[in-house]
Symmetry: D3
């Protein structure tokens, strides 16, 4: 089924500047998973930060109704965002904030919108990886116009999922693998290798410390490669 090695990423492309209007943007493709990410700069900050001198980075996530194999009901039509949507956008926001100096950003907000055009597994990790690129482009724009002067980004950040499929630990699950994985874990790490977020779930039998350590190793390899692609896309 899987044609590539168990420790290989799918084919990944990152296209910054895909969207005409946004201060930062990136079309990220991980295999057949395609996410359009935009970073929008707003001169207001959430009320809990007003007067603090600090800014904020937040994320929103959505899927086009037919990004999936069967059509899903449009969340705008059903009148609310699902628990899954809210969980994902909280994760993306936390992950990106982990590498942002909110004081250097100043009292303003960047909203990172991650819209899944086509889904084939790993949409939340692709959103983080591409979200970093859109965010960096937005901050680059702010620097250019003199809106920020100190470094805002403290590190790179990227994410990948790993899982145990048919007894084998594998990197970067597509939808078919994700559906059959016994254990499924998402990892978010910085460019310098620090852990930002770990989410591991036993879908079938519980997993052991050893299995978890193997997944962590695969993630470390994959995220290293993703950060290299981010640097290349941003011309660093």
């Amino acid at each position: 089924m899987r044609s590539r090695a168990s420790d290989s990423l799918r084919n990944v492309t990152l296209t910054p500047g895909f969207a005409k209007h946004a201060e930062g943007s990136c079309l990220v493709k991980c295999g057949d998973t395609h996410v359009l990410v935009t970073a929008s700069l707003e001169e207001t900050t959430p009320s809990f930060l007003r007067g603090s001198g600090k800014g904020w980075v937040t994320a929103e996530y959505g899927m086009l109704p037919r990004s999936t194999h069967d059509r899903m009901r449009r969340e705008a039509a059903s009148g609310k965002q699902s628990g899954r949507t809210q969980e994902i956008q909280r994760l993306i926001g936390r992950s990106l904030r982990a590498v942002v100096d909110l004081s250097a950003l100043g009292e303003r907000q960047i909203i990172v919108d991650c819209d899944v055009l086509q889904a084939d597994g790993g949409t939340r990790t692709a959103s983080i990886t591409g979200g970093y690129v859109a965010l960096a482009q937005c901050i680059g724009y702010m620097k250019k116009i003199g809106m920020v002067t100190k470094p805002v980004l403290k590190d790179h950040v990227a994410a990948v999922s790993c899982g145990i499929v048919g007894g084998t630990p594998v990197l970067d699950l597509d939808y078919a693998e994700d559906s059959t994985a016994g254990t499924d874990a998402n990892f978010v790490m910085t460019g310098s290798g620090g852990l930002v977020e770990i989410q591991g779930t036993a879908e079938g039998a519980p997993f052991s410390d050893e299995e978890f350590t193997q997944l962590l190793g695969l993630a470390r390899k994959g995220i290293g490669e993703l950060v290299a692609l981010q640097k290349e896309a941003l011309g660093e």
Copy 2:
């Protein structure tokens, strides 16, 4: 400001089959307006048609939050679709149904999702023009697998906006033109030239019968060209 002739369409491309999962799809670009349309086949029909032997075609419409110059609030987050969104999706649905033989379709439903990736005026008319292509591709699929046998599509259908800008009647308004137009009208016509829908609005001063007739003439020219592009895209 306007570099093309007052009776010229913007550059239009129609890419059928853009989406992997949908039975029909089309990426439609009219200048900087980009809409991703999918046609999803569902084996259920609205309750008011149950037992009638007839099917249904309906449309949904959405804009990515940063498809616009300033970021708009995500409708899924605000918990409801705006009046504008509902008005547009009703228009798209009516327009497409005008060329569908609902009895030949049989008791099933096609949902046409029009999601604006980038907006620069004319998103509703682009959705109708691209929606026809996605719908035709979906019906082609149904024919191929023997789900329908009689012709389902009775004609082509496409749409364009026209307006009076600085006193001059012009075809296919972009956002800048739309914002300054004194009168703004959307036209939906069939391939054989029949009128399906007319929506004309005086934004400033009322308009005259003569002005309206000029806009109708421009629309007729533009829609003829759009139908030719539809045929080409569908390989007819």
Copy 3:
């Protein structure tokens, strides 16, 4: 079925001052369609106009649950206004604003509520015709107390629907006619004959330019008569 001539309006009465509390009001009856319209003056303006010196006129529309042949669900109970309701209230608002000098109105808002007590076709056009009367009464009140000094109303405005029923173009459709019309169009015009809004829809087969021109002619005749009735009701 139709006892009056194809170019005759139903019996129309306009009763200004029907409501005790409102600054302006009108009970409009077009045949068996009865709409109670009130114009409420509020000393606040929408946020997008704050500081502009300009005012606003907006409309809301509702139907009593048993205004229709079969009882409809109360929108307050279902928790949202339908797409049809929103489309209608946007149309009424646009139509009335077309004859209002928003600068002369000053930074305040008039809300025109159109509540259908009994429905028999043409509720949106009756709302516009009666809405003008309520609005004019409200502005008369504002003049009397010295709140406005310059003329606020630039012209009259009224509306009517026309359609092609059984092959014949007819003026002012009742519900039975509307349900069987092949083409159905709403026209909004000023007292001096300018076009404010045109909405034409093919319910069955597409319609031709000639048919549309015929409907436009009928509308022009009917709206002339409605404006005369408005003047009479307002004692002009």
Copy 4:
């Protein structure tokens, strides 16, 4: 301020059959309080009664936005019914059901819609008094077409408010009296004088048993007169 005696009702008129489409209806006017009530027959019953052979009577209540001195926000626009609205419609429903033999009604439902066209105090009690008339007319219709054969209505029911205003117990409060009343009570009684519902509230100081007894006496007198008007309106 009050021109009539402390134990006099306001001028009351009950106009059955006011609405064209409904099986039963009544326009009830109590002074400047005007409520349009319709009774709609539906051939379905709430799920908790399915298979029981019993029917149901329920009520809904609404106020037109400008029925009041200052415009109120439309509940359909705010997306929910207020606590006050829900409390009132529960009271109306309970009161009407108190005189209905639900088994004789059969497994169907009557929905009584009470829409306040103009408010000047006592809208909930007017709704009950007029609601009985609309309900009786609806049941009369059901009898005529043979849908029910046994008597469905066990008695008449009507309602009135009383209060202590400036130290004096008075019958049938208008809005000005209601706003200044120290104690305010609504009474619902049957034609034969049985108590169906009592709701007494101290708006200022608590009230005594004696005061309450006085209000009860006034209510008994007023409801007797209202029931006589109901009989007259229904031609009994």
Copy 5:
């Protein structure tokens, strides 16, 4: 069925200070009905009181999903509070405000949350009785820190339900009694015996003045006992 006398309360306990964080709190148990009440002090007041120098006391009410015999749907999940919930929280708020000097409270608000941990009839009356204790504790705290100086509470307030069960008037209905009662009434009274609220409902046949007088007498006895328990709990 009923093991205690017809004029006896169930076993009642009032435990002030049950909640760690709240300024005032009380766990009230009336037989198997258990309600956790907290009184939360907030330094804001509703907008209609801003600048008036007056404060406000309001109540909210909720039931844990499995406080009842069959699980009820969680109101937070269904997205709105039922009409019953709103009616109850309005009653609790009105009852508590009847003994509060809102001017002495100053421009701040106390929110009394009544959450039913276990239900066996009489949850709204238990909420009022326990709500007074939580409120008194909160005001005691405010006195201690000097936030209020004049007496805020003008009297005690407590509540109980009575009903006619199998022809016999009884005090303090449990769920089984409440379900079979022909007439059901809630009484709210002050410590000095003034009536604050009366809500009597005929569940089956209408009731007479005499029956109502008997229920009032029972309530007066029960509320006297409840006020004595309040004083004891508060160490007065």
Copy 6:
């Protein structure tokens, strides 16, 4: 600040059968965090399992408004559950299902309601630990009445949070510790030591593999003790 050892749990008590009506229940106290958990048996299953022969276990979570230091808005009043609430109830449901044989349960559903009476950190992990006890009691009831015959529970499951506070890895964070922790992780494990869920988040600086391993070790110790308390509470 912390008076107990860095590898000590807070004082934990588990009281099964706390709620009168529910098939299973448990009051769980972890220090000042108190959660009332009920397990409700329902003879329906979600639609996606109908006909599969399998059952379902799901969880809902709520906080009383004043369970926290400052009062939180009631989710039923705000009309929706927050992203945090939904994330927590999804975690609890997944964790409990990890030890349930859904086929042995049969086509029915158990809803585990976790309502926080008082919060002092670790409410989600306490809900899982107490949820297991309520679930086990519910399944014990089902066994007793012969509703299930095969073993439904495959193992125990419990949860605890760990974190790095002031540079030191500590077990079972209270609110004050959680607010200042640099890294915060929740662990869910079975009685036999298998990992069910890991959620680790860097609140400040990213964390290392070594730090994470230390937290995992602390969790393993704590969960072992919690499972022993579960067995004791259930009399196993």
